[in-house]
Amino acid sequence: MASAAHIVSPEDSSAPPPAESVVVRFAGDSGDGMQLTGGQFTLSTALAGNDLATFPDFPAEIRAPQGTTFGVSAFQINFGSTEVETAGDAPDVLIAMNPAALKVNVASLKDGGLIIADEGEFGSRNLAKAGYETNPLTDGSLARWQVMHLNISQLTLDAVKPFGLGNKEALRCKNMWTLGLALWMFDRSRDPIIAWLKAKFAKAPVLAEANIAALNAGHAYGETAELAGPLKQHHVGAAPAEPGLYRTVTGAEAISLGLVAGAQLADLPMFFGGYPITPASAILHHLSRLKEYRVTTFQAEDEIAAICSAIGASYAGQLGVTSSSGPGIALKGEAMGLAIMTELPLVIVNSQRGGPSTGLPTKTEQSDLYQAVYGRNGDAPMPVIAARSPADAFDCAIEACRIAIEFMTPVMLLTDGYIANAAEPWRVPDMSGYTPFPARFLAEAPEGGFKPYARDARLARPWVKPGTPGLLHRIGGIEKANGTGNIDYSPANHQLMTDLRHDKVMGIAAHIPEQAVTLGAAGGKLAVVGWGSTYGPIHQAVRRQRMRGRDVHHIHIRHIWPLPANLGTLLRSYDRILVPEMNTGQFKTVLRDQYLVDARPLNKVSGQPFRIAEIEAAIEREFDAI
């Protein structure tokens, strides 16, 4: 992926499909440390110069009963020597730490793919827990695939024996043994992992040494064991990328950094009010460590207090920010209306997850679009921006800050569980390339007297910090007279204020970039229109279909509300419009409503991202219908 990491030229876009990319899925029990293993493998892969995309897929329960299928935690990584934009449709390699992990994940493995299983965990008890009547490693049911079964548990115990750990602690090193083997398979360096283990276990050097021993043993196993058959070393070359300094970044990190950058570009201290909720909490965690950037974080008593404290801070002259996921966003709804009514800047980050209600806390979905655009009482227009990838989230967060401050309005930034957790390479941005948008506070009454609801050319009202002499005034959620801000619910004034709030937000369209065609050109047979984290699969699907000569184009939209000014004209330049979404068709409905175009839906709400093949199939169906 990595929009930031690649130059996508027309030639590039019609290049052959990735010559060498590999999808590996690590799967085990929740307690097996699969997310950690995957994260470290990702780091090592990024350092090898591959492009990559990851997909952490874990249960909502912290420690589901051991050995059960619903306790399986998996981490998928797709890495390659060309552009990688999705975590991959089907794994080439599945590493299964127990029978349940095999059972849950094997169906998605490519035909002929490789299974590496820890046979030490395939005892009758674990087989029964996973619902196997016979041992799949030996009963021939895995004949479609290549199977390597090693007793990873025993090999790990042997490797860490010198350190005198208890059996339970020793077995915890299994994931490092497995990681060592995976690193060997793909010719990855162990050095960054060893450095990380030393730092992580600085206070318990024996654990550091034991884990390193397990890592080395796994690596050595691959190198020295006389392995026949499938287990052989792959080398995946580095991917071509725009020159520069790179790092990996998750969406949650990128948003946190983008918010800090946004506040700095506005020359404002930031106040972040949050309440723990999956998958949004990581933003609170990141920001709480950045106090030297004039960031105050406040873990509030609930979601409502989180947004209200941020509104209070904005009122007092800081950049108020709050963050949550769908259920928490619902609780914040009334307070968003207050920020709209009092016309105060505010950034609301929504890391979407499966819904409704508690829904699927750890799974991804895009089903809060209506909630973002329409989900408040009254006519309550609010700008909405959607990030398409972890790296893109950085720029989107800055853009959200800019709009909030320049237009004195709350802004919602949409991401989702996939973006928040997934990692990708990110070309470190040159911060001098960003234009500052310093916040302006009214310090004294203008000529003609001070009016708290006077408006500038953008229809924004002045921002006045309490503490400023001579500009004392009162604001509130009750309807205010334009100009004076006195309570006024006369019919004409409410009409005027409703129109002004609407015009102010819709006017933002003149201050955002026109919509570009992400891949392809304006005009043609089919446009595939997406928003948010469907970017990767849509892009790859369109690219593959274009290579087959189909007149198909990809348009990916960042500014969900207001929509870019040219979007209607652009959409009408195609015969057909397909809108893939991880919901039941929300953005499709918005497009139909706004432009009276025949946008057609492609919907998926399984908690899993789209596969490239699913979108390709939908594109083919559209062409069959033409």
Partner: protein, 345 residues
């Protein structure tokens, strides 16, 4: 505000806005507004450094009538908004205006957490034991049997005690006043002088929906016998000194005792110690129906460090010796260089 800067004297007029006050004629809120406006010039603060934050309800229109900064927010959320204001600018003098429904029902959670955190602010809870703005439904402080549009046969649930709730939430300053009582400004001054969350319950008469609900102790004829105004360090006397409160040390409860010829010590009357939380709870629990006077004035005042100071101090300490450098921040962690020429595959 900077304590070192001398503050120019203000008068009551400096604290009045040009807005028409829109409470019902005879509402207790008028008296409270006047008491607050009369108190402000005596606090040594500038109007521009004062912020009144309110929720929703009759009381919450209050900020529109104060010539200060003001924020009329949403139902129950004033404490949360005030927390953001104070954390963003600890120099501001923050007052929260709320009611029994606003602070104890829809906003009970925020009230509790603001008090336990000890944010430096004044909370004035106008308790009229009724929902006024929504036309007279019973409230969380209404007595059992209150007949209202939503409880035509009388309410059956037990009321919350505002001050007991505050004390239980960890409030370090709990006081009571009466809307029309001349001592209300003294209570407000004490609340302002306390650094931390100062909780003041003001008995406020709703002339339309709950008239005379407090008459058992506010009526002129009964005031002396049924009100006790507490003064720190002074004997707890009422009824013009003819009665007092003694501590029954066997049963650990307060008792009303008669005082002969002013000899309160002989009667066993104890002095008010405003830092004694146990006695504060007993004072709060006193009811006229059980033969006690209602405790008024400063019931509990035992300061400890405030929330916004702790936050500011931690922010400062965590930032110490660190130079913010955005470019370095975005490049943090393990990085790698991609050469000028793309790799050949």
């Amino acid at each position: 505000m900077n304590d070192m800067t001398p503050v120019a004297k203000t008068s009551i007029k400096d604290w009045e806005t040009d807005q028409e006050v829109r409470w019902c004629p005879g509402c207790g809120d008028y008296a409270i507004l006047k008491a607050v406006q009369r108190t402000m010039p005596e606090l040594g603060v500038r109007p521009e450094n004062v912020v009144f934050v309110s929720g929703i309800g009759c009381s919450s229109r209050f900020p529109y009538y104060m010539e200060t900064y003001g924020f009329h927010t949403i139902h129950g959320r004033a404490p949360a908004i005030a927390t953001g204001v104070k954390l963003a600018n600890p120099a501001l003098d923050v007052w929260i205006i709320t009611g029994d429904g606003d602070a104890l029902s829809i906003g009970g959670n925020h009230t509790m957490h603001l008090l336990r955190r000890n944010l430096d602010c004044q909370i004035l809870l106008f308790n009229n034991e009724i929902y006024g703005l929504t036309k007279g439904q019973y409230s969380p402080t209404s007595r059992v049997g209150t007949r209202s549009p939503s409880t035509p046969y009388g309410s059956v649930d037990r009321p919350a005690s505002a001050c007991s709730f505050a004390l239980g939430s960890g409030a370090r300053f709990v006081a009571r006043g009466i809307d029309v009582h001349k001592k209300l400004p003294d209570v407000l001054k004490a609340a302002h002088a306390h650094k931390g969350a100062s909780f003041v319950e003001i008995f406020q008469n709703c002339i339309v929906y709950n008239d005379e609900v407090f008459s058992a102790f506010t009526e002129k004829a009964k005031a002396a016998v049924n009100q006790i105004w507490l003064e720190d360090g002074e004997p707890m006397l009422f009824a013009n000194g003819s009665m007092g409160l003694a501590l029954n040390r066997q049963e650990l409860r307060l008792e009303v005792v008669a005082v002969e010829d002013g000899d309160w010590e002989a009667a066993g009357v104890i002095r008010h110690d405003q830092t004694n939380k146990g006695i504060a709870q007993m004072l709060i629990d006193m009811e006229v129906e059980r033969g006690f006077p209602v405790a008024l004035g400063v019931i509990y005042n035992h300061p400890r460090p405030t929330f916004e100071r702790a936050v500011a101090e931690q922010n400062r300490a965590a930032a110490e010796n660190k130079t913010p450098d955005l470019q370095k921040l975005v490049a943090k962690g393990q990085t790698w260089m991609v050469d000028k020429q793309p790799h050949e595959i």
